[in-house]
Amino acid sequence: MAAHSLDDLRRVIRRIETRRPTRPAAQPIEEVLGGELVDTGEGKLLVVRHEFPLSHRHGRQPLGAVLETPLDLLSAVARAERPVEDARRLLFLDAETTGLAGGTGTYAFLVGAAWLEDDRLILTQHFMRDFDEEPALLAALRPLLERASGLVTFNGATFDLPLLETRFLMTRRRWPATLTHLDLLRPARRVWTSCLADCRLATLEREVVGVVREDDIAGGLIPALYFDFLRSRRAAPLGRVLAHNRDDILTLVGLLGWFGKALTSREALTAGELGGLGRLWEPVDVERALDCYRAALAAGLSGAPAQAVRLNLARWEKRFARWDAACSLWEAAARDAWFDPRPWEELAKFHEHRRRDFVTAHAVVNDALGLAEDAGVASSVREAFAYRRARLQRRLLARD
């Protein structure tokens, strides 16, 4: 509140006492946004329904790719608490809210949900025209949630679902807590962190799913548009919010399809994605992860991601005592344009302790020290190499 003195406050109060703002009669929202008013038994709300054939392409793949996704595998790599099962009983969910901070004063004013039915994807958007329609909105969601066996969201684990759960709680409703949940943000982070600028849904949609949105509204502006609507009752600007929500859900479906394809066949993946896929597999199936890493390097992965993949792969090869493979990776990593002490150190340890070849080990450390000085790395790194070299020199002398 901008009032800084008692007078300001009194002025505002006086203004209101004399004039209750009357709401201008506006064109009915269902005419502006499409959809229809549905009576849920707990009040009315606006429901906008879309249907898409499974052959509909949102990006490079048809929506139907979802049906081929190995959900058990994806659940495992996405670290879902329990595996989601039947793709036909999945509910794709995305909420638009009155604030991004969360908390009990944040409402989900628009909840979009999608599921497969026969050869179609049904997408319904539930919109409350005012705060008092929240019970109707939640009542409309309940049968959808009850019918589903699992939920798919993007960042739902920390945002959408806790928020919806709070909304159910605040209106004295039980949240169907038994639903399994697959939050695609988690596997997305594993796959794309190192090869994309960020892991926002919009970025993935453009780079991975292959959709370029026209005239999309920035997520941060959405709450303000809703508040504007509450005051002005002009619904037209909300059209973009509904489109945004609809596209987000379609992208969610597309992303699930992408994961399904990537987990079953590595065709058509970029080198960066192969590396990311390796990270996805790593906690579940190491050998498949290592295959992905090797494929990523073979596909010409370069730069910092390649270096990270080499070192990670070498770590596993070392653990499995596949020394030749490990050494060639370290040697490749040591040739990287940027001096990195880690492969040099591994090579030195390998030659000194495993092969007991002090001459080669000494040569490796010498080279590393030379490069370290040129690169101007931290003195602690140089000291570690110098210490190692001194020990090797002692061992060489002792042997002579």
Binding site: M1, A2, A3, H4, S5, L6, D7, L9, V12, I13, R15, I16, E17, R20, P21, T98, G99, L100, A101, G103, T104, G105, Y107, D130, F131, D132, M170, P223, A224, F227, L230, R231
Partner: protein, 389 residues
């Protein structure tokens, strides 16, 4: 076991000379005024965020519908389905301080350190609330953080600016004390005390304050070693106050010299201000005091102590008034309490003054002699006797 080492402050001196007070009164009397409009509005915002407020709901005894409608008008709340709902993106508790009424804080940023590229490294070392900023972090002020002196280089206070003070570490042996000009004007009388040798009233006042300069005071010896001028805007605040106007005949009985009376009343003001916190269980800075009069002067024109004294001495009428006001905008209930306990406060004041061992006044009773004048203590004694008759 707890030990209290008493300083020369009247509060501490009162405690050690009247230990029965410490052990004889019930503890705690924490004060917050939930009806202070500023506090109330913030509470309502936070409440609405947690749960929509129903039309029929009251806030304690208070009907808050007007406030809720005002917040609706401001776009913070939205009325739907017989409830007011939170309708903003922000989290209101983030902007509500439990410690201050208003929330505009100044960041104090240390710019002493520079990195290799010689660009200033900025480190936030303190936060100062709006109310005390002008008196503590004016340009050239020495601001102490963990007993290290920092000199204020710039103070950004304009409305469109981020509120910051840039400071720099310095090695100095003095600290600074702001000199401010002040004014208190009665806006609304809300209560009046029973007829006595003085008129006690309580109500709303406008307090204006402007920092016009500062004194440099040497650490250790507390010598005045210099001064400076400051150009800062006047700060105004509406708050609640209790005030006391001494009847002309009472004044006439004490002294015929206006100057002596003014010095004596200043001494009484000092004493009451420093003693009141003990009854209110507040900090001394939660209260402000001022010796002015009830003659409606040009509202908003502030004056220093000296010019106020001159005005009082030369005025056609002479009705000096002691104001004790709440330093928090809107008031947090301190002034109402001062008004209630005023007779008791005057008695305690007389008591403190008479038990003080000094001859002509000291910081423990009526204030240092060189500030209040040589005859102030005896005049104050006569005044307090007359006021407590």
């Amino acid at each position: 076991m707890a030990l209290l080492v008493a300083t020369s402050a009247p509060l501490d001196q009162f405690m050690v000379t009247h230990p029965d007070y410490l052990f004889g009164t019930p503890p705690e009397h924490a004060r917050v005024n939930p009806n202070n409009p500023f506090i109330l509005v913030n509470h309502l915002k936070c409440a609405a965020f947690e749960l929509p407020i129903a039309e029929a709901e009251r806030f304690g005894e208070l009907d808050v519908r007007k406030f809720l409608a005002a917040l609706d008008d401001e776009g913070v709340l939205h009325h739907a389905g017989r409830h007011w709902h939170w309708a903003a993106e922000t989290y209101p508790a983030d902007h509500t301080s439990l410690r201050t009424v208003t929330t505009d804080n100044f960041l104090v940023i240390d710019t002493t350190a520079r990195d290799e590229k010689q660009t200033k490294r900025r480190q936030i070392i303190a936060e100062v609330d709006w109310g005390s900023a002008f008196a503590t972090i004016y340009p050239k002020a020495i601001y102490l953080v963990e007993s290290e002196p920092y000199e204020v280089q710039e103070l950004h206070f304009r409305e469109d600016e981020e509120k910051v003070a840039y400071v720099k570490r310095v090695a100095v042996d003095y600290f600074t004390d702001a000199i401010s000009a002040k004014g208190v004007w009665i806006l609304q009388r809300l209560a009046e005390g029973p007829p006595a040798s003085y008129l006690a009233e309580q109500g709303e006042v406008l307090v204006a304050e402007k920092v016009v300069g500062f004194k440099k005071i040497k650490m250790g010896t507390l010598e005045n070693v210099g001064s400076g001028e400051v150009e800062l805007p006047q700060q105004e605040m509406q708050t609640t106050a209790a005030w006391l106007t001494v009847a002309p005949e009472t004044l006439a009985r004490v002294s015929s010299s206006r100057e002596e009376l003014i010095d004596g009343l200043r001494a009484v003001t000092y004493l009451l201000h420093h003693l009141a916190p003990i009854f209110l269980l507040c900090d001394i800075r939660d209260l402000g005091s001022w010796l002015g009069d009830t003659t409606p002067a040009t509202s908003g024109a502030v004056a220093t102590r000296e010019s106020t004294k001159r005005r009082l001495m030369d005025g056609a009428q002479f009705n000096p008034t002691i104001y004790l006001y709440d330093s928090h905008a809107g008031g947090i209930g301190l002034a109402e309490h001062v008004f209630e306990i005023l007779p008791d406060l005057l008695r305690r004041g007389l008591d403190t003054l008479e038990t003080c061992a000094c001859r002509d006044g000291c910081p423990s009773c009526v204030g240092p002699v060189n500030e209040v004048g040589r005859k102030a203590k005896s005049t104050a004694r006569s005044l307090l006797r007359a006021l407590t008759d």
